[in-house]
Symmetry: C2
Subunit: 217 residues, 2 copies
């Protein structure tokens, strides 16, 4: 009986990894769609968000069902509750990729990103890719060292975010208000995506060590 | 034993209502601080966010503890899982009030809101207050009729949000990029706060009826 239970726990962990993989792909595609004004790719990300939501839905149903049927011991229960929270974070990260893709679609055939911000958005996309890759390893191997590193990686995203806002405020900003609104929202989407990655990393850290890495986001 | 369990369930519901009350107060204070450039009130909201976070922390610990000790039947387990999700939504709403208050503090002694947006922000504050009041009644009385109304109330917030962005894009907008960035973020905070209220209302609806009011946010 316990072995069947642990098989189901493993399958829940596997679904979380699947979600993380899809979120990483969605963020990468969304960044590419945004920078290259690629409508087809933007539409792909927008459609893929539903698949992520569906996985979360099924995963949460399985998790709650397992809790109800197996009456798990405290430590396993904690793992299951954490799974529910991680799936919520991942689902939200998928939403943010979807928001980025919608911004790309809204400005098509133009590029939503003015040329002086291409580098910043490219970097935000790279940091986000690196964060989610590391997060996947953290989740898969319960790797607390890399869980802590994710906090530092997130500092990099915050720096890029400040750079983005600073560019909008320069005297040389010649694009006016509308692209400034676009870029403010896009900056916020990347920043929030990284926050959710940090939040998941902290949950893994807590699950393994029983201690908080830092105050919860 | 079952009676002690239900006492604990009631106390968890009571704590959720306390959180909702604090979030409503925080949003109201944050809006007032923003519109009146009231630094003392802004500081109050910023400090109060920690109290909200602490209640969530204690509440979640009690909820998980109750799950582990009492091995609840499926329907009670669902209520407990939903409590965890509602406390996460409420905590995030508190964060958004905190963000609004920080914006008020950052622009002090100036007012962060240009005069042509005073009415819009006042209305966003009122809608948010009405939403959270109604939400409290929904949570307290498991009121599915008002749970559905919250969807419509949220449409009002979306309309105000579109109005806000339209004002920033008018030719007559003379404040330049920085206040446009501020207002874009503030608009997003109010909109997200309303989204979380809708999300909680949908959770209550599902718990009572076993059916989804609409796709989850």
């Amino acid at each position: 009986m316990r072995s069947a239970f642990h098989d189901e726990l493993d399958s829940i962990s596997a679904s979380l990894l699947t979600m993380a993989g899809l979120v990483r792909e969605a963020m990468n595609d969304a960044t590419k769609a945004l920078l290259e004004a690629d409508l087809t790719l933007a539409e792909k990300v927008i459609a893929a968000d539903e698949a992520i939501d569906q996985i979360q839905h099924d995963l949460d149903a399985r998790t709650i069902n397992l809790m109800a049927r197996q009456q798990p011991v405290a430590s396993d229960l904690r793992t299951l509750v954490t799974s529910l929270r991680m799936s919520a974070d991942l689902e939200r990260m998928g939403d943010l990729a979807h928001h980025i893709a919608k911004q790309a679609r809204m400005r098509f055939p133009n590029c939503a990103v003015p040329s002086e911000l291409t580098t910043t958005i490219t970097s935000m996309g790279s940091v986000s890719n690196a964060l989610i890759s590391k997060l996947t390893a953290v989740m898969e191997h319960k790797d607390t060292v890399r869980a802590l590193e994710i906090e530092t990686d997130d500092d990099e995203m915050d720096t890029l975010h400040r750079q983005l806002i600073a560019t909008l405020l320069e005297d040389s900003w010649a694009h006016g208000v509308e692209p400034a609104i676009d870029m403010t929202l896009l900056g916020r989407y990347y920043e929030r995506c990284a926050d959710h990655a940090v939040s998941i990393a902290r949950r893994v850290y807590f699950l393994v060590t029983g201690e908080y890495a830092a105050p919860a986001l």
